[in-house]
Symmetry: none
Subunit: 204 residues, 4 copies
Amino acid sequence: MHTPDSDEAAEVGPSKAAARIRAAAVEMFAERGYGETSLRDITYGLGLSPGAVYPHYKTKESLLYAISLDGHTGALAAVTDAASCGHTAVEQLQHAVAAYVEWHARNQALARVVQYEWRSLSNTHYRKITTLRRRTTAVFANIIERGTRSGDFAVDDVDAAVLAISSLCIDVSRWFPTRRHNDPLRLSRAYVDLVTRMVVGRRL
Amino acid sequence: MHTPDSDEAAEVGPSKAAARIRAAAVEMFAERGYGETSLRDITYGLGLSPGAVYPHYKTKESLLYAISLDGHTGALAAVTDAASCGHTAVEQLQHAVAAYVEWHARNQALARVVQYEWRSLSNTHYRKITTLRRRTTAVFANIIERGTRSGDFAVDDVDAAVLAISSLCIDVSRWFPTRRHNDPLRLSRAYVDLVTRMVVGRRL
Amino acid sequence: MHTPDSDEAAEVGPSKAAARIRAAAVEMFAERGYGETSLRDITYGLGLSPGAVYPHYKTKESLLYAISLDGHTGALAAVTDAASCGHTAVEQLQHAVAAYVEWHARNQALARVVQYEWRSLSNTHYRKITTLRRRTTAVFANIIERGTRSGDFAVDDVDAAVLAISSLCIDVSRWFPTRRHNDPLRLSRAYVDLVTRMVVGRRL
Amino acid sequence: MHTPDSDEAAEVGPSKAAARIRAAAVEMFAERGYGETSLRDITYGLGLSPGAVYPHYKTKESLLYAISLDGHTGALAAVTDAASCGHTAVEQLQHAVAAYVEWHARNQALARVVQYEWRSLSNTHYRKITTLRRRTTAVFANIIERGTRSGDFAVDDVDAAVLAISSLCIDVSRWFPTRRHNDPLRLSRAYVDLVTRMVVGRRL
DNA sequence: GATGAATGAGACTTCATTCAT
DNA sequence: AATGAATGAAGTCTCATTCAT
């Protein structure tokens, strides 16, 4: 289970106005990118002036950090919680992939910021986020490793499999939704299927 | 087969200086993003002044377009050429995936710009690039459809499979290289394996 | 009678800082021309940075428009008000010419911008200003026409007379003041005399 | 009669290409103003590159000077020649006004540059041009003074009359042609009439 | 005589940020 | 908590001008 410590909560920005600003920023950052979004862009639709951001976030970058922290924390929680619901490696993998895909589909804008605007963070914040990313990847790596050792999975290159599975899930945020695929649940089922075939079963 | 028409060459910028500027821009756009890269950033390392771009590219955006056009054309050519070298659907898919993965790994910077800086194009240029992207996706879609109809592939959702395979390849440009995976050829082999298992063989 | 509507006030820029910027711009535009005056030129003497214009005027051109609108409105009001004070055509013409000459002499810088920097306006603004110019010319045309029909004036070519009278007044802003002519009132009396002779009395 | 000394000819730029450039510049300067016209604007329509100006004119300003010199010289010659064809003050004035009006109408673009772009000259060139302008004004001043002393003219304020007559003629270049007035000869006749009435005959 | 690449200055404009209100 | 004015830095782009070719 995920319990945010008070530091994190403080950094995300607790007030109602802060939340509105954050939400608007997520949409804009996702659509245009951090560098191409101005504070004016963010505040305009809220009926606020650009300066209204500063009582809530110290800088534009710290707004990105709040979003990043929020997003990465949520994604990690989703994956961790899901994985803990399975008993076998297969079950765990399937739950984790389903959760990760769904998270990227259901929170497409947030996910896009999390996955693609990351580089615009300051060094300090970048490093803090890196930890969360590693922990997320580790969830998948652990499952694949365990399943491979146990013989449940037939994987030649554990690393490559982890990369491939992560890519599959992460990349959802780049294109979702499509005319044909706009149902997060249906997509996650299809992807769980594909991932399972990728790692389970006989060598070719 | 790929035959570059002379128009394309003109739009990409044929002179030597234009090529140097384009190369520098690719690296910068890949590293920081289009919006966060200034013409100064691009020209400084070349010993040029920012204005030196303008004899070669009408605007910063048209420089991005030249890069995008070049990159998309190359990627499409790589995939098309590779697919045409296989006879069975399995062979074609394997060749195409290998080529696409390798292209993203070997031209990582260019690929990143192609896949992630696309949105900064003007409407007109955006539409022109969209055509090339659709043609690239179509190569994979055609192979999967054909293989599925012929029974070579066991795919429940053709669309999802095409998305997943594309994602796998495209996302390479986001993270490549890693300490463990920095050999394009080894990566492409591993990914061809994973993709093959995803689509070939019996239902689970 | 002249009643400024609130829209105009808004477009001209109502705040104190806006008025100072406008005043400085009038002097500069009059002296060097719009194209040769930079925002730095305008703001330097005010102790402001060039960007300080933007809270008040959206673009440099809109600053020119504000000045143009202000100036044309004022000139039209001056002429209209003056003409309405006369009963006979002769009186009306004399009042109107006196007012127009005086306006160009007393507001020489503004008048110069109004008469000579006009062409630098955007198409939309150009058209709006054109309306005011036509209304100003129409005041003179109406008087001359009426006076000619009534026999008060002996004018062969109404159009030419209107052009000549307008030219006389407008051109004041090009040269005023001179060492010998720096008193707006004295000038206007002399010009009223000349204009009166031009149109009144027997054929030559 | 007017005979250009060789210095002037050299400064105007004698070659064929120089003349083409000068002609294009006249049109552009007249339409947009010196400060808003670039060398590219001037050379584009000629199929030349901006640098092609430099074999012929040392700077953009010297191109304006060549035009100004040419124009002022021509205008002065026209007025001087015309005045010399009359015997009485009335005749001289009428000839001079006719010539000056016609010159501004027939050479509208050149005249506009001469009358309104003058201020963009360098100090040295500005002073040289000033001499020509004074000589032109002097032609009118001399006629009016002589005619007033002889009793041919009834003018209260010689200075004002000279200013008014000059204005009438000069301002033609600002608006000519109009839908109704596009015949230089007809205009000059109408204006000669108006000017004559202005100065001839009984006091009012 | 002319070009195309390049420069260096400077233009307008945007923007994150500050601060008095 | 929020605004509007303002700043200073920076961005894209233009332009007169130079120079090798």
